[in-house]
Symmetry: C2
Subunit: 341 residues, 2 copies
DNA sequence: ATTCCACTTGTTAGCGTTCACAATTTGAAG
DNA sequence: CTTCAAATTGTGAACGCTAACAAGTGGAAT
């Protein structure tokens, strides 16, 4: 029996370096008061024994796991997936691992369950992709001392820190762009009516039309996908007065483009179309889509920063902070002046 | 000072239930030999104290964290993101949490680093999205006792268990479909030349042409995105002999569609196009894309099953198992018989 | 009754780390 | 040479849990 002890632990390193285990710990945690010479001796010992510290033991005593939790929804889509990526990227450089807990829907129960799973695993903080208030509210049930941040959506601003995009500004930019091209008004295909993001986009669009004195057409609310865009597009295509359509996201826009094409209405010559998000290949739609770009990854990174600040600030850190990032209009081939009559 | 002990631990539960802490542990771990009566008493105590067990302590002694690691690449794209989702979904029902470690590239160093991060956090196993051999090879450096599975790509079949798609079968189906429609031959726009998946797709396509006695046009290798598809599409559009194009994925197909459109070649009347993947909105391209569907989420789930089996099997479990899932051809509007001359 | 075994519970000792404190060494100042 | 504070190191005790064994039940078999 050659191997009695399978892994090397702090004690082994200590013995080899001729110091106590506590000194090894100090080296590991970069405690200032360690003589340079012993430090290198310990480091060499660690190297030669290929020592890796046992994080479970460390977590047990410090109550910090150096793991962050992510509550995600529809992480299969580009937006959430990119946020996840941004979060993980920033977390890694900050020395954290990210554990994920996806929720199947945005009901309270699912969210509470996710919080519970993560907190059992002793995550130090939670970032939630929270497109609906239920998620933010669920976060409030997190045990005291577990810091939470909501990204990408809705939530009581007094409750948790949030990172969100200025949806209204985005749709204002899109709508203004179309009006400036000379369109009499702009139609809108909305997202799901119970998503705050969808509402905010409507708001910015409506306000802009109103301010410009343009008529405000009725909005249809549906979902975020191309199928919905296609359906609404078919309807709008029938109305010859429609010359500009602003869609709540790029997928909807894709469906609208197809509907217009099927109806024989040319884009952008007869009808202009604008999306929202700027997905990876929106620039290769037919025609290339003018859209409002969101930097999801950046939002993810910012939310991580916010979480770390929140954690550092402690319990007594005043009202929650908020970050609002600005989207950017990307003009491509799907928009043009209206046909001259 | 009301709160001396902040959280309730096993001892508190034990005291309230009038048993020893070990009995509480037994209840928690569903040990068979606990009297029904005491079990309920303990459960009630846990409930009333809102007890949550400390997983770090459990991990410390059992050496099992009930956490799985995922090494991901380009998790922002639909395929990887869906796999991640499938994995997380299956992991949750199996009682595991998933921690992610994304790699910026597929170099050996990055992969080793990811393995290291995960193993430090004491994950019980690792699933790696491994489109290139470097990842699988990196997995071999994982400490003994840490089980690994590779999903979605390449790798030495003797090394680790894998889940992969039958790429060749997919492209055979696509190519056959086009030939059966009456096309004289089928052109192919390849993915990156150093991705085994891209190679396999070429293989299936080439074999099918060969068997059918059709001429085998040269292949261009590039990348996985629409921009590449657009570039190749422009070239192919110039050649009037091209009537059928099979693309290595849907994004490439999108670029090809645009190039053909710009060149005034109608799809599917003049040229048929087929993709690979079946992304969410491929059915809304112009025209709706015929493509080869991969069920990424299912692959994720399967890989988790495989990992758990591998873990249960222990060290002595013979050669690694492999799962190959079959893709499915989805016929839509982008394919039709060639124009009759 | 006695014996034995299965069932149920309790006791003790770690798991590998950090924390709090004690002990020692060092170096500069008196 | 003494003194004291700072720098450096070591010692024991947690952290909350499970493993291993011990010990106490009860009932069936002897």
């Amino acid at each position: 029996m050659p191997s009695k002890k399978r892994v090397t632990v702090m004690r082994d390193v200590a013995k080899l370096a001729g110091v106590s285990h506590q000194t090894v710990s100090r080296v590991l945690n970069e405690h200032p008061n360690v003589k340079q010479e012993t430090r290198t001796r310990v480091l060499e010992a660690m190297q030669s024994l290929n020592y890796r510290r046992n994080l479970a033991a460390r977590t047990l005593v410090t109550r910090r796991s150096h793991t962050l939790g992510l509550i995600g929804f529809e992480t299969t889509l580009f937006g959430p997936a990119s946020m996840l990526h941004g979060i993980e990227d920033a977390a890694r450089t900050a020395g954290y691992l990210v554990s994920i807990a996806t929720v199947r829907n945005l009901e309270r129960g699912e969210v509470l369950d996710a919080v519970d799973r993560l907190s059992q695993h002793a995550v130090d903080g939670i970032i939630a992709i929270a497109p609906k208030p239920a998620v933010t509210n669920g976060l409030l049930q997190a045990p005291a001392g577990l810091y939470c941040v909501a990204v990408g959506g809705a939530g009581d601003p007094d409750a948790v820190p949030t990172v969100r995009i200025d949806n209204a500004a985005g749709s204002r930019a899109a709508t203004r762009h179309l009006l400036e091209l000379g369109h009499r008004t702009v139609h809108h295909v909305g997202g799901p009516h119970d998503w705050p993001e969808a509402q905010e986009r409507v708001q910015g669009w409506r306000d802009t039309l109103y301010e410009a004195g343009a008529p405000v057409p009725p909005v249809g609310f549906g979902s975020w996908n191309a199928e919905w865009g296609h359906r609404q597009g078919q309807e709008l295509a029938r109305d010859p007065g429609v010359t500009a359509i602003f869609c709540a996201n790029d997928r909807i826009a894709l469906g609208v483009l197809r509907a217009l094409h099927e109806a024989g209405r040319r884009v952008p010559e007869e009808v202009s179309v604008v999306g929202f998000d700027d997905m990876p290949d929106s620039g290769y739609f037919l025609p290339p889509l003018t859209t409002v770009r969101q930097d999801f990854a950046e939002m993810g990174r910012r939310s991580l920063t916010l979480l770390l600040e929140h954690m550092a600030g402690g319990e007594d850190a005043g009202p929650p902070a908020h970050i609002v990032v600005s989207p950017e209009l990307v003009v491509r081939g799907s928009t043009a002046p209206p046909p001259s009559r």
